[in-house]
């Protein structure tokens, strides 16, 4: 098998060193770029992101990448969004007013609840390790990015907003924070997103990246 290649979209949002190192550790050749041609010709594309939704979308528009990413979906190129990059896959976010997203997965992005289900105040951002649970009662992750993960294995989250897909079929994994379900992994066709940071989630996270680069 030839060395897997990943193109990471470098649009000036967040630190890409760790995600690059994680992918390289898994055996991928990594290209960081904002060039539409390079992105369109990539065998698989990773959309990272840290920070504010509206600023990220603004940057993607400015670099002419919104249409490029939608074209990737059209071509069925595997696309993985991480953290904010996952949230951008949805239709809209209510972070500082309503901002339109990429619209590749129906649904919206809303704040993480500041109260637990029991009504107690809880810490936001949601930071730390949390267990992955299957969204589907059958608990079957085969054929998804989590194929090599056991339910209950924990991964590392840092976020204040969360994705809420409109169609339950697009939910792959959840975590529970303060009694509320938080979408941890979502997917539709060749598009996937994870709210947690696979590049900071130890060997469990690396299994997710390995699965992605062999897709």
């Amino acid at each position: 098998m030839s060395t897997p290649k990943v193109t990471v979209i470098d649009y000036g949002v967040g630190n890409l060193l760790s995600v690059r190192r994680g992918l390289e550790h898994c055996g991928a050749v990594v290209t960081l770029t904002a060039d539409p041609e390079q992105i369109l010709s990539a065998p698989r594309v990773l959309l990272p992101g840290v920070g504010a939704f509206s600023i990220a979308m603004q940057e993607l528009h400015r670099l002419g990448l919104v249409a490029v990413i939608r074209e990737l979906a059209h071509r069925q190129t595997p696309l993985l969004g991480i953290c904010l990059g996952m949230q951008l896959l949805l239709e809209k976010s209510s972070e500082f007013g309503i901002t339109a997203g990429l619209g590749l997965i129906p649904g919206c992005v809303i704040p993480v609840a500041t109260r637990t289900l029991a009504g107690k105040q809880q810490r936001v951002p949601h930071i730390g390790w949390n267990a992955l649970l299957p969204s589907d009662p059958s608990g079957n992750w085969s054929g998804t990015l989590l194929q090599d993960i056991q339910p209950g294995e924990a991964v590392y989250f840092v976020h204040s907003f969360m994705a809420v897909p409109a169609d339950p079929a697009h939910r792959i994994a959840e975590c529970v924070y303060g009694g509320h379900l938080v979408s941890a992994v979502i997917g539709r066709d060749h598009i996937a997103g994870c709210q947690f940071h696979p590049e900071k989630s130890g060997e469990v996270g690396l299994k997710v990246l390995r699965r992605f680069i062999t897709q």
């Binding site: 630190n15 060193l17 760790s18 190192r21 994680g22 550790h25 840290v50 920070g51 637990t116 289900l117 029991a118 105040q121 809880q122 810490r123 951002p125 930071i127 730390g128 390790w129 949390n130 267990a131 649970l133 969204s135 589907d136 009662p137 209950g152 294995e153 924990a154 590392y156 840092v158 339950p168 939910r171 959840e174 529970v176 924070y177 303060g178 009694g179 509320h180 379900l181 590049e199 900071k200 989630s201 130890g202 060997e203 996270g205 690396l206």
Partner: protein, 274 residues
């Protein structure tokens, strides 16, 4: 996902006493290129290569790493960039780096080297506005307020700087409240009295800090045995525990400590390791 599954998950979570996993953190104090360990942050002894130890702790399933350059504030510089850059090649858990960070630019350098958070003590005392600046620029989750505390009376602690060398006359509880209100997203509270002594954490100190702030509190200094971890979480309300001596001198592995915590009923990340 069906409503049944949703209800099951919600019920399961409601049943949990604590809905956040206690993080097990390895703390690596660094002097120049070496991992060192002292007692009361003094009398530093060379342990070995920081990243050989860091990699071992990572392989044992540590949740996070803290690198602290313990002489950086003395000389106003930080040696950790290279160490962290090399750690980021094969360590994939969050890393906090502190020691000698004096400006937003210093913080940016260290984050670019692969750190996820910066810990600031001395420079924040000298210029509290730095807490706000770092937090605004990189997010509050990046800004860890590091406090070195020495007990000066009943339920009273003074903040020290320069790795426990310099007094400030500042009350720890007042300072932690101010630091968090200025944007610190996490607090690393080190008991200088307990540090390196293996006598257990200063539970009163950790509790006093934890009940004043809404952000996570990392207890540091004094872990002699796995039981100490249980006490500081149960009685001190620590969200995370930083360990050094117990790991560096091979008195326990992260895996052993994790299994002990699980058996004691503490919620920690479940991790099966080779």
């Amino acid at each position: 996902m069906g409503m049944d599954m949703f209800n099951t998950l919600e019920r399961r979570n409601r049943a949990q006493a604590k809905d956040r996993m206690t993080r097990l953190i390895a703390r690596l104090d660094i002097k120049g290129p070496n991992l060192i360990k002292g007692i009361h942050l003094e009398g530093l002894r060379v342990i070995g290569s920081p990243n050989e130890h860091a990699l071992r702790y990572y392989q044992q399933g540590v949740d996070e790493l803290i690198y602290m350059d313990c002489v950086a504030s003395l000389y106003g510089r930080n040696h950790l960039g290279d160490i962290v850059r090399s750690a980021a090649e094969n360590i994939f858990v969050p890393m906090t780096v502190g020691g000698g960070i004096r400006s937003v630019e210093d913080a940016m350098q260290i984050l670019r080297s692969g750190a996820d958070k910066v810990a600031v003590n001395t420079a924040a005392i000298a210029n509290p506005q730095l807490i706000t600046e770092i937090s605004r620029r990189f997010g509050s989750q990046c800004m860890v307020l590091s406090i070195e505390a020495k007990q000066i009376g009943a339920e009273q602690w003074e903040a020290y700087t320069d790795n426990g060398r310099e007094r400030t006359g500042i009350d720890v509880i007042e300072w932690v409240k101010r630091g968090v209100s200025m944007g610190a997203g996490e607090v690393l509270i080190t008991s200088v009295d307990r540090e390196g002594t293996r006598k257990g954490f200063d539970i009163a100190l950790v509790k006093a800090v934890a009940q004043e702030v809404s952000v996570p509190v990392i207890a540091s200094g004094g872990m002699g045995k796995p039981e100490d971890l249980i006490d500081v979480v149960r009685e001190g309300a620590a969200d995370a525990v930083a360990m050094a001596d117990i790991l560096h001198y091979n008195r326990a592995t992260i895996g052993e400590i994790r299994r002990f915590a699980e058996a004691a009923g503490l919620e920690v990340r479940h991790y099966e390791y080779a």
